[in-house]
Subunit: 496 residues, 2 copies
């Protein structure tokens, strides 16, 4: 894409001043509209060193209300960040609806500077490109306006700018050794940029190449693109909100496979055997936990299942064997107002564990395709899209080195009734049962259908679903413990 | 306190098993009550190396629902943490109401290991003790149950335990060089612990010394103290909720000093002078901003004032001169539900800037003594306590090296009316005016009284209030810019 660019575009001073003022007024207005309409905006700046990213960001934000945007300067990863999937630090910075996030360098570092420096290995590149495209698509699908600028200058111009900066004591620190090295090997680095632009120039997140030899010209181009994209997005959002929401169609019910109805719920264990195997498995797990820590392998365990299916009990038998400094349990309630104003995966990204730690989710991101689908909190197009989004999310986790297991605790409708009644009749257990549990029970068939579809669409080789026959609690707890122990053992063996 | 401790306490196995089971059942029950009653609990473990903190934390959490607590292991500070006040990493980890936070080592590191290692200088100790006591008092006042354990063993026992750990390849890594050094200089380190215990054993956050030679004995003592403290706190909370809330008294109105009514609102600047001085001050500020970054000085600017007082405009004239990668503007709206379930200062701690960065708060923690006081969101005892809490908070910031300035933008009631009308009548400005603004205006006198009291009680030498005569916007903006510039210049001079 870069070879087509004419880098000598210029504008006269008067021309540019007048155009600029007009664009600034428009941009200030559009920021307010985006705030009112709760449209989140992400603007990223990439490009060669000394191409003027800082200056041009300043020009862009000048007309903006400073209370409505954040600027993030992205450098090398901190230790905390290095221990997580590389997209973690960006997911956690995605804007709330109605706000603007501006990135001075971004996730593209992974396939640019880090690639050039050998921090990203060649074998990691295909995953990195896929994950970046999936990330941007997910955000775009969720209503984020994605605007990406690449600032282009020539090798000669870059050299001149570096020299000018180096002359002055107050600006010399801005030029790093890496900058000079990339100038020296400009063509090699440019080729990496070229490849990046081609692989990530998508319909939902297109690149704009900015001829940055002349800063006035560049500033105007940037404001023009931003105002243009915002206008388009606002118009599109208006058009969408005028249309009636498509009602949930029934045609997909044909795919009902009844995975759940084929589960053998008669499987059980007696108390003696349970106790003996629990002890043995917990001992193994306890040793494996230190080993995971030592080898910096993260583990993510998701628990889903019917209400009263035994999630809490199964989790407890796991954590009993774990060092509390090395795991965290994330109970997932209905999203709070901050969580609601982000992409639904955002809050789960917050809980992604550091390498060497275990994160246990009591209910998970699969709420999107169960409760949100059934209660209509997610539109049909949203939950249908979610299967792929979830697979992409879990694939990110696995690429970062994590073991990902998902448990579905299955019980039948009679067993649930029995447990609900027991809870209602036992004073110490009464807190466990709520009206909502009864309401959900009334929708058993709808849930069964949704769960079946979920299990089919999201059981992957890298992040499998484990269906746990749960009518007998002893059996269920041992199956969970054993699955976790075996998955960790298999992984440790593979790595050593 | 340590010299009175008999370290040879023991219990028989049968005795302890029976007591333990009973305590575990009680603790599981109390955890649920605390969750229901939204009581936050903080439990910290300090003590000599190898005194069994990890093991005893495991014993404590065994009966707990893992979805309701978090364990934090506190080691040296990360880079991100080093660049902020030392309490920052603990404030951000304080539990939501109804949850339990357990600290394996804690903020006491500052006056123990870090003191022993010379990381904390002797001159910093008095501030550290004061800040710790203020921190614990604030949390306790807000309803947190503070439980602090100190695990005590002898020098000889410690040496024996280290040797046992070192014998085994799998446990040897747990003994650090620092551990061995502290064992060698046990008496010196013990004296530091002794001083710490004396200085921080308070009514609201008392220490429990645990004789940790025998782990069964220690585990029982810990569970006894925790269940006892929780029972007390629950009873106290019940008693409080049975009492009617004390109505806001009027007696304090005598202190009305009318600082605000003495402000000279005729001060003004003409447009030409404004433009010239703005340019000059912004240029200076821009250079100072890099210097702040270079010298790693954090700056915190708080803006309060009447609605339509010109906060936004003043902030904009500041940020225009700043590098967006080095500042953040925090707009303060009504607290969201997560913020509401923490101490009111918690959300402002999240926004404390890294050393070298500027944080601008558009409305601040002073909401506690203004809107929360007037609307009754805070009880009288709560907002009265807040003056000291706020002074303590700002003192923490200043001790960490920050410049802290607070601006009150003053306009009179007529000027406010004029601006409200203008906003209502100008389509592009109409978004700025809400019904709430008119409601607040109706309470002008109540606010005036609250603001007067706030200005008197919280203007400190280290974090002064600057009253900005705001009827003329040009004058106000220049005063803000000039004050910031001068404060930074004074500080840079002082330091060099």
């Amino acid at each position: 894409m870069l070879e087509k660019i004419d880098l000598n575009k210029k504008l006269s001073k008067e021309e540019s001043k007048q155009i600029m003022e007009e664009l600034e007024g428009k941009l200030a207005y559009l920021q307010r509209v985006c705030k009112e309409r709760k449209i989140p905006v992400i603007i990223i700046f990439e490009g060669f060193g000394a191409s003027g990213k800082g200056t041009l960001i300043n020009r862009l934000i000048y007309p903006l209300d400073p209370r409505g945007f954040d600027v993030y300067a992205i450098n090398g990863e901190s230790e905390d960040e290095r221990l997580r999937p590389f997209l973690w630090r960006f997911w956690t910075k995605t804007p709330q609806k109605g706000r603007i996030a501006i990135f001075d360098r971004s996730w593209y570092r992974r396939v640019l500077v880090d690639r050039f420096d050998g921090v990203t290995k060649t074998s990691q590149l295909p995953d990195a490109f896929n994950e970046i495209n999936a990330f941007e698509r997910q955000l775009s699908d969720d209503g984020n306006v994605m605007i990406k600028f690449f600032l282009d200058i020539t090798k000669k111009e870059q050299k001149k700018r570096f020299e000018r900066l180096l002359e002055n004591k107050e600006t010399a620190w801005r030029v790093s050794k890496g900058d000079l090295k990339r100038n020296k090997h400009f063509d090699e680095y440019k080729a990496m940029n070229e490849e990046m632009l081609q692989k990530t120039d998508t319909e939902f997140a297109p690149w704009t190449i900015v001829e940055a030899m002349d800063r006035e010209y560049a500033a105007i181009k940037i404001l023009k693109v931003v105002t243009g994209r915002l206008e388009e997005s606002i118009a599109a959002q208006k058009a969408r909100s005028d249309q009636p929401k498509s009602a949930s169609s029934i045609q997909d019910r044909v795919m009902k496979s009844s995975i759940l109805s084929n589960v053998d719920l008669s499987l059980s264990l007696d108390k003696e055997e349970y106790k003996a195997r629990k002890k043995e498995l917990q001992n193994r797990l306890s040793i494996l936990h230190s080993e995971l820590y030592r080898r910096r392998i993260p583990v993510i365990l998701g628990f889903e299942g019917w209400d009263a299916g035994g999630k809490g009990g199964a989790i407890k038998r796991l954590t009993e064997a774990l060092d509390p400094r090395g795991y965290q349990v994330h109970p997932t309630a209905s999203p709070n107002d901050i969580e609601k104003s982000h992409h639904y995966l955002w809050r789960f990204w917050q809980g992604v564990p550091k390498a060497g730690h275990i994160a246990i989710f009591d209910r998970t991101w699969y709420g999107r395709v169960m409760v949100e689908r059934i209660e209509g909190f997610a539109a049909e197009e949203e939950w249908k899209r979610a299967y792929k989004e979830i697979n992409d999310f879990e694939s990110c986790l696995v690429h970062s080195g994590a073991i990902v297991l998902k448990f579905w605790l299955q019980i039948d409708k009679d067993e649930q009734k029995r447990r609900f009644d027991e809870r209602t009749n036992t004073p110490e257990k009464r807190w466990k049962i709520t009206d909502e549990d009864w309401r959900n029970r009334a929708k058993w068939d709808l849930y069964e259908e949704a769960v079946d579809e979920m299990l089919i669409r999201t059981s992957t080789t890298y992040a499998p679903w484990i269906i746990v026959e749960g009518n007998n609690k002893y059996y269920a707890r041992i199956k969970v413990l054993e699955t976790v122990v075996k998955a960790i053992e298999a992984r440790l063996k593979e790595d050593s």
